[in-house]
């Protein structure tokens, strides 16, 4: 395996059981993501994009095959080990931002740092830096309800990068934003990719968004497809 490959997905299968029926979401899918890449995962609804993202992020386990990140197989980890691994290696950006409404922007960004051994002062420095990166230092004390969708998503990105994770996983990060706010988010992701070297895997429906990625792969019916599927 090349040292440049950060994410190595091998022949993964994912089945869900609904009643007596087995639903195959991913069937023998393999994928490599080199370190520093900005990869877009595209495909129609139900194609398995988010499921694949969840497997890479350790939010779910494959039914078959393996998921290796930085040479470490994570599909066999216990729940506890997987939780600790996610906290250390993965930054997550959600379509609906998933901020805690009762916390200010800075306390939302601080959340992943609560899982580290950093002192309060060190945490504060990290939070300030992350908010500065996303251009929201002036909104640190604001609650999510006091911010626009674009601003909330930028807080979400600050929360994702505050621990300096290996991998940034974004699930439809512009899906709930207008074009202008979406472009700002994509600009930000590009900056993080190019200037900070973050490896990004982004699920999107939007060709405009995928155009910002360095590579786009298409999924159809749980398998990689060379062609874009409408």
């Amino acid at each position: 395996m090349s040292n440049d490959v950060l994410v190595h997905v091998r022949n993964v299968e994912k089945r869900f059981r609904r009643g007596s029926e087995d639903i195959h979401v991913l069937s023998g899918l393999s994928l490599e993501v080199p370190r520093g890449e900005f990869l877009a995962l595209m495909g129609p609804s139900g194609s398995g994009k988010t499921t694949l993202l969840n497997l890479i992020g350790g939010l779910d386990r494959p039914t078959g095959g393996s998921v290796e990140i930085e040479g470490e197989r994570i599909d066999g980890f216990s729940d506890r080990k997987l939780a600790a691994w996610r906290a250390r290696h993965v930054g997550l950006v959600f379509q609906m931002y998933n901020l805690l409404p009762v916390l200010t922007a800075e306390r939302n960004v601080d959340l992943p740092l609560l899982l580290t051994h950093l002192s309060r002062q060190e945490r504060r420095r990290h939070v300030e830096a992350a908010l500065a990166v996303v251009g929201l230092s002036h909104r640190a004390r604001h609650f999510p309800r006091q911010m626009s969708g674009g601003e909330q998503q930028r807080v979400g990105i600050a929360r994702a990068i505050v621990t300096d994770p290996t991998l940034l996983l974004c699930d439809e990060p512009t899906g709930d934003l207008d074009r202008k706010a979406g472009d700002e988010i994509l600009d930000l992701l590009q900056v993080l990719n190019r200037e900070q070297g973050k490896t990004i895997v982004m699920v999107t429906h939007d060709p405009h968004a995928s155009a910002r990625a360095s590579r786009t792969v298409h999924l159809n019916k749980g398998q990689l497809s060379t062609e874009a599927v409408p």
């Binding site: 499921t51 969840n54 939780a83 906290a87 959600f94 409404p101 009762v102 959340l111 609560l114």
Partner: protein
């Protein structure tokens, strides 16, 4: 970060969201408060009744009944027997003589002030030593009765509960008139439910000749009991049974106490079931409304067990709030509330005050905690078991 800090943080977020769920949280708190108030309120009746029955009894005071009798009503002693009892070893002596009183006990009908219905009220004939035996007795209005006269003194509880027992009033019982010359207290004890007069006057009024029903005595110490009892139970001149007053009154109050406590527990259990479903509903709603929030925390790396604990703690906080409000409400509404009820073992009314004791409040809080614990457990398990990837998709 250690597990405990995760619990503290996750619980902190949960409690902050409580205010955003005011309606459901308030409904649970009020439901639990109602259950606890009823539990504590009903049990305070039993507690108050038992206290009234036992508060006056001290370990050094004894009661002597005819052998085989379970209560004063069923007992009978001759003058000679009471003399033997008075001379038994260990009887204490006070300023006004031996602390021993041969007594008779009749039941008269008097209307309750609250309902106007007739109720059985004990009229007790006592000897001078009665005041040496029950040293907590205090005349608070008027004076003591004079021996040989148709005069009575009335317990403060009876004076409040039954009509015609005011100071200076004349009480007509059968063919006799009795003048109320005093009101007495006995630290809330059973004697406060009674009317007292001179035994020597009551005997002819009820054609009891020279017989009594019971002898009350105070011993020099609680340790003197065995010698006193042995002396009497081995004396061929008397056929008696000797009991400590503490044991006698505990036994006398057991039927009513057990009935009230059983009834209270049954009512509270049924209501508790309702409150439990209320708490379950609230916590399921809380977990459901926070599903994505909880999933986000777990996605970020928080473990499942702190989430379980946070839901449990939130449920317990609501339960303790409800328990506290219910206990406080019960205390202010019921503590000291005066009532009278029939003691089935003496067929007479006992006036007593509801007693919301600290142990009862603790019992109420523990009950609330139980509701909170069970009410939070299943929603907490649901919150922890829901796969993150599924929960993240929920709105």
């Amino acid at each position: 970060m250690n597990w405990l800090v995760q619990v503290v943080e996750v619980t902190g977020f949960a409690l902050q969201t409580l205010l955003t769920r005011k309606g459901a949280s308030a409904a649970t708190v009020i439901g639990i408060a109602g259950v606890v108030a009823v539990l504590v309120g009903v049990l305070s009746i039993g507690q108050g009744f038992r206290k009234a029955m036992t508060v006056s009894a001290t370990p050094d005071s004894v009661i002597v009944l005819r052998s085989g009798a379970d209560s004063e009503m069923m007992s009978g002693l001759s003058r000679d027997e009471t003399r033997v009892i008075a001379d038994a070893p260990g009887v204490a002596r006070g300023a006004s003589g031996a602390a021993v009183s041969a007594e008779l006990f009749v039941v008269i009908d008097l209307p309750k002030r609250s309902t106007g219905t007739d109720a059985n009220v004990p009229l007790r004939g006592v000897e001078a030593g009665a005041f040496e035996v029950r040293r907590n007795l205090e005349i608070v209005q008027g004076r003591n009765f004079e021996p040989g006269k148709n005069e009575v003194i009335v317990g403060a509880g009876a004076a409040v509960e039954f009509a015609g027992l005011d100071l200076g009033k004349t009480l007509r019982v059968g063919q006799n008139d009795w003048l109320v010359v005093g009101i007495f207290t006995a630290e809330g004890g059973i004697a406060e439910s009674e009317i007292w007069t001179d035994a020597g006057v009551l005997q002819p009024a009820y054609r009891r000749e020279d017989s009594f029903q019971v002898v009350y005595a105070r011993l020099t110490s609680p340790e003197a009991f065995d010698a006193f009892k042995d002396a009497l139970t081995t004396d061929p001149r008397v056929n008696v049974k000797v009991l400590r007053q503490t044991d006698y009154y505990a036994d006398q109050s057991s039927t009513v106490y057990n009935m009230i406590t059983g009834l209270g527990t049954l009512i509270a259990s049924l209501m508790g079931l309702g409150a439990l479903f209320g708490a379950l509903n609230t916590m399921y709603t809380a977990v459901s409304s926070r599903t994505r929030e909880i999933a986000t925390l777990r996605a970020l790396g928080f473990r499942a067990s702190p989430v379980v604990f946070s839901v449990m703690i939130e449920s317990m906080v609501l339960a303790f709030l409800g328990g506290g409000i219910g206990s406080a409400g019960a205390y202010f509404a019921f503590d000291g509330f005066r009532a009278a009820t029939m003691n089935w073992q003496s067929f007479s009314q006992v006036a007593f005050a509801f007693e919301v004791s600290p142990s009862l409040l603790l019992q109420g809080m523990l009950y609330a905690a139980g509701i909170g614990l069970v009410g939070g457990l299943f929603p907490a398990i649901r919150a922890a078991r829901l796969p993150i990837s599924v929960a993240l998709r929920e709105l």
